[in-house]
Structure formats: structure tokens, C-alpha cells
Symmetry: C2
Subunit: 355 residues, 2 copies
DNA sequence: TATCATCAATAAATCGATTTACAGAATTTG
DNA sequence: CAAATTCTGTAAATCGATTTATTGATGATA
């Protein structure tokens, strides 16, 4: 009977003793190094099973320069998008034998920089950063300053230092322009809840540039506003308030999920019917959009693919399988056409432009 | 000039050397132990600032039996509820000087058990487990088997071994019963997407028992179904299909957010108007519920308070400030009355019971 | 003044793994 | 058969902190 009152966990030395070999040999077997006689390897494996041995990832990581830990910093964990992203990252990291440490910057750039520094404290092998703002934000800056291995995800465009992975916001928004103008809309409102996010700026540019290219006479209004408080709500209110019904846009393209919610709420509040009076397309799909009435046409981001690709890219860098120039990877999005805007819907009021 | 090609991070020994003291002294200063002469303490702090020293949490944790790491295992990260829970936990853990390691069991009990074991591998000081099923599931079982410090959150009732924290599902559901019966409803459908979750079973019991107590003649139908695939969808379909409009319930109480979405979709599909034909109350509030039409009356869970309380409870156990019997803590919920069911709404078709 | 506490500081052990450097055995080569 | 080479296995160093045991120095007490 053991002397310890509490059954201490078996260490690699216990396994070694039980198998009648040295700790170094056990380590070799566990890490799959070939230079071990089969007989000894078997005895080690038996001892591991018998003692119910499990490696301490902390002790294991300490010795090595490259620790088998990957950090992920995302702007928030309460939105399904980043929730799904993190879930995908965790899955991919585990499959590659890495641990994932997750932290939310809660949309604060200051916190983001601190979290990146903290990931560096953990001596992570690499970091996946979904910046609050863009590849020029404080988090990315800290990555550079600390010379860390990293991949930037979402809310980014290309970068001279890091690989980036994001939805093809530009192309997807251009497609929305094609779609809405194809339906005959010539006066569109763009609404975005924040001017901070690079992704949202890109969506705005994608739509606007394509729309102008298709028809220079198109009227594109924009209501942009900084994030916090109810400012975005009030600004969209004011837009509709100060605008005669005859001068209303015939379609709205909301540039984020949050924004879509705002717009839908405001339209309902004012009794403006969708899609009869106004068509609505939102960027970023959500469960509820197919259930609400009318169901909402939305651009869906392939979040799982993005997670997969981002992790694969990072791992390639970490493991030295890629030392080429940084690559900007864009994932194609899909537009899910629903009731709030679609071919069956006529354009509300066709008006020829010309003030 | 240093000889290293890459500027190695400063260690505690570098700080010690720079301050002209021993590593042990530096450690004392950093951990706030009093037995250090003020002059030396100041020199240490200066050296820390100069060398830009940051402690390696990994190395720091290794020596101590109780590592300053807390594990959190939740059923999923894609729902706002658990996302918010994790955010709250992370905040609380950080304030107490702990690191939080998060993992999603993805609604799999097997994975849950494995993740709990993995938290034990990290030698976490304690674990917050939001079980897939209940306090009797595989994760909790593993916690017990490994004799870990833990607090169980959500989807649990009381437990003889661990403190638990959850919304007061029973009372909140009883309140829904009071509310709906108070409005005159005498035939209610309860719909839950899964029979697995303890929380949902409790909500069912809370409503049913109170309803029966208020009026033994109340008719409560239940459509329960196991999670995956589209089974829940089909079962709610069938319910309405095989039921003459005259025999329809006058209200639905959906027992989860997901379920609310299902029910709302199905009612719309069949052209059943809410609240004119049928009233709807959902358990678990979401952003979109105040925007959708009609806006949906829902029970909101105080998720941030729950996170706060759960972490406080765990820390008290860890730090030995509490060795009393395990406590079941219930957080009161709030019902947000909106258009889908409310006092202004008349009960659709009043019918006297009696088959 | 001699003896006993008290206080500050440190050297060395420790946590649990990995890795390095080296030794002995087995095998191949000249 | 001796020398060179390859295989296996181990002792010891290492990662970066914390903790323990111990040593001096200082102050208090008899």
C-alpha cells in the first residue's frame, strides 16, 4: 500500500520504474521516436495503461521552445460567428495535437494588445487573431513587436507580415449590388453599425464600387456610426425621419448582423413593409433570419471553412512547411435569397433618378 | 551586446542578476511576500520594468500543487448563452488572478468526459462544468472519479458533491404558468427540442406542476424529442397536422431558444397567427426576439450573474474559504413580456374543458 | 557580555517532462 | 579478429518559476 494519503498522479518516472527503464526511454516511446526496442516499448505501454498515466501538458511544454499550444484572440464570444469560429479552431488544433487557449478582447483594442502579450507569455507556438479593427490594430501591432507567429482572421485585408483569412467581403458585397440592381433598385441605403471594422468598410466599398460601375446614376446613401451606445439606432431613426416617403430608398443593404437587426426593427417600428415598401439584404446570416417574418435575405459566411483554413495556414508556418510570402486568403460567401428581397419581389416604387 | 542572435525573453534570473539579488527574492517581490527590504523590492521592480520582464505562467504553475488555472467546459460555444457565460467566467477569473481555459464538448457526453480529464491533466485548480445533460452525466462522473474541485452550471439540479449554479428554471416556468393561466389559457403546448437536458426537464415540470395546481382541468400537451437531425421539427409538424384547428392549444410555451425558433417557424408556415390564434412564450431570450414580428415574450436568464456567482463559489472552495456542504444556487429569471403573449392579448378561443 | 529570537536573503531542491551527451552492446567492415 | 559503425538506453542538464532549509546579520533579553 502506498504511503501517500492522496493518490498522487503517476509521473513519467513512475512509469519508468514500473517498466524497468529510464524516463528518457518512456519519453521516447510516448513521442513515437523509433530508437526503442520493441520489447521495451511494449513494457512502457503496459505500464502506462496500468498506472493510468497521462502526460502533464504543462510540464511537457516547459522544456521545448515551441510549445504545443496555440492562442486565439477574438473580439467577442457572444456572437454565433466567433463562437463557431473558435469551435472550428479548437477542433482543428486538437486534431493536430495542439491545445487551444481562447480569449475574448470584448471589442477593446487595449485588451486585445494585452491578450496577445499574454499569449506570448504562454510561449504559444502561434496565435490566431481576429482583430477588433483591422490588421493595423493594436493586437497585430503587438504581434509584430513580439515577433510572434500568427495568422489574422476576419476584419482584415492583406498584410505584408502575416497570412490573413477572411470572407470575401468585397466580392460578396459586389454580388449583392449585382443582385439588387438586377432587380431594378436604383436607390439603396447602406447601414453599418461601426466604422471601426475593416470587414464592414470592405463590404461598403464592394457594394458601392460595383453599383457605380453598373450604373453611375445609382443613389447610394450610407448611414455609418460608431459602435457603442444607441448611436447607431438613433442615426437610422433620423435617416428615415428626415426623409420624405417619396425619397426613400427602395432597398437596404445592412452591413452586419447587428445592423440587420437594427434596420429590421426600425422598419417595423415605422410601419414600412418589407419587401413591399423596401427590400432588405443583410451581411452575415443567422438562424433567426429564416424564421422571422419576412424571412431575411442574407450573405452567409463559411465560418467553418475559414477556421479550418486559418488553422492549417498557421500550422504550416509553425511547422516550417511554408516560408513563402504572406498570403491573403478570401473565402467565397453565399447569398441566401429569402423573402425580404428576391426575384419574386417587384421593386417597390420605380423612380427615375434626377433630383 | 548580448551574444544570442534572437533576443531571448528575460527570466526571473535575469531580473535577479540585474537587481543584484537572488531569484528567490525576486519571486517574493512578485508574489507580494512581505519579508523583503523596501530598498531591494524597489530595485527588483526597477529591473522588471527595465528588462520588460513578464512571468511565464506555465513555469510558474508547474511547481505549485494548485495551479492558477481554471478550466471551463461548456456544451457549445455557438450559442449566445454559453458565449456570454464564458465571457463572464473569463472576466471573473482574470480579476482573481487566474487563467481560464475553455473547451466546448459540442453536446457530446463522451467528449465532455475527455475534456474534464484533460483539465485534470492541466492540474487546474478547479473546473466549471456546464454539463451536456445533468449533474449525473459523464463529465460530472469524471470530476468525481478524479476527485476534482468543481462547480456545475446550468442544466443541473442539486448535487451531494458539488455546488451548482443555474437559472431558477422551475420557478421561472411556474411563473409562465401563472402568466398564461392568468390570461385565461386552459390548453397549452409545451415544446422542447431535447429530453437530454436537465434544465429543460425542470422547465417542463415547473410549468406543468404549477398549471395543474392552479387548475386541475388544464390541458397540457407536450412535444418532446431528442436533439439531432430534424426530428424535433417533424414532431412539431405532426402535432399540428393531426389536430383539428378547434382542438388546437391556445398557447405554446417553448422550452429553449432553439425550440422557440422551431415553433415560430412552424406556426408561420401553417399560417397560424401569433398572438391572435395562438400565444407564444419562449424560455431563453435572444436579441432577435424583440425585433421579429410579432416580438416574442421570453424568459431571460441572468447569465452574467450566473457566471459571476459560479466563479465566486468555485474560488471560495479553491481558496479554502468554504468547506460547508454543497449548495444549490438558483438565479431568478425575468419574463420579458412582448407581443407574442401579453395582457393586451385576448385568449384566442376560450373553450370550456371537458372532452 | 552572552544567549536567544527575529528578520532578510540565498543556495539548492523541486515540479514533470524533454533533450543532450555519452556509454555499452550489437553489428558490420577491413 | 580488430576496428569502425550503428543501435539502444541512461544519467544528467534543462526549461522558469516556487519553496525549503539554512545562513548571517541584527536586535532583544538575561
Amino acid at each position: 500500500m502506498k504511503r501517500e494519503e492522496r493518490p498522487r498522479r503517476a509521473t513519467i518516472h513512475d512509469v519508468a520504474r514500473s517498466a524497468g527503464v529510464s524516463a528518457a526511454t518512456v519519453s521516447k516511446v510516448l513521442r513515437g521516436v523509433a530508437t526503442v526496442r520493441k520489447e521495451n516499448a511494449d513494457r512502457v505501454r503496459t505500464a502506462v495503461a496500468e498506472l493510468d498515466y497521462r502526460m502533464d501538458p504543462l510540464a511537457s511544454s516547459l522544456r521545448n521552445e515551441s510549445r504545443r499550444i496555440i492562442g486565439a484572440v477574438v473580439p467577442d464570444l457572444e456572437s454565433p460567428f466567433f463562437g463557431a469560429l473558435v469551435t472550428g479552431l479548437q477542433d482543428a488544433a486538437e486534431r493536430a495535437g495542439y491545445h487551444l487557449i481562447v480569449a475574448s478582447s470584448r471589442e477593446s483594442e487595449e485588451r486585445e494588445a494585452e491578450l496577445v502579450a499574454r499569449m506570448n507569455d504562454w510561449r504559444v507556438a502561434g496565435t490566431l487573431l481576429a482583430p477588433v479593427r483591422s490588421e493595423r490594430g493594436r493586437g497585430a501591432e503587438t504581434l509584430r513587436a513580439l515577433d510572434m507567429q500568427a495568422v489574422l482572421v476576419d476584419r482584415v485585408s492583406d498584410d505584408e507580415r502575416y497570412d490573413t483569412v477572411s470572407a470575401d467581403n468585397y466580392q460578396a458585397s459586389a454580388n449583392v449590388a449585382d443582385f439588387l440592381l438586377g432587380l431594378g433598385h436604383r436607390h439603396v441605403l447602406l447601414h453599418g453599425a461601426t466604422q471601426v471594422s475593416k470587414a464592414i468598410r470592405t463590404r461598403l466599398a464592394g457594394f458601392t464600387e460595383r453599383a457605380k460601375a453598373l450604373d453611375a446614376g445609382v443613389q447610394v446613401d450610407t448611414v455609418l456610426s460608431d459602435a457603442d451606445a444607441d448611436v447607431p439606432h438613433r442615426s437610422i431613426c433620423k435617416y428615415f425621419e428626415t426623409r420624405a416617403p417619396a425619397d426613400r430608398p427602395t432597398a437596404v443593404f445592412s452591413l452586419s448582423q447587428h445592423s440587420t437587426l437594427r434596420v429590421a426593427a426600425e422598419l417595423r417600428r415605422r410601419g414600412i413593409r418589407v419587401p413591399e415598401d423596401i427590400a432588405l439584404v443583410g451581411f452575415d446570416d443567422a438562424d433567426w433570419m429564416q424564421t422571422t417574418w419576412p424571412s431575411i435575405t442574407a450573405v452567409a459566411q463559411p465560418v467553418h471553412t475559414m477556421a479550418e483554413h486559418a488553422m492549417a495556414t498557421l500550422l504550416a508556418r509553425i511547422e516550417g512547411n511554408n516560408d513563402g510570402a504572406p498570403v491573403q486568403h478570401l473565402e467565397a460567401c453565399e447569398m441566401l435569397v429569402r423573402e425580404s428581397a428576391g426575384p419574386e419581389t417587384e421593386v417597390p416604387r420605380r423612380r427615375t433618378r434626377g433630383n
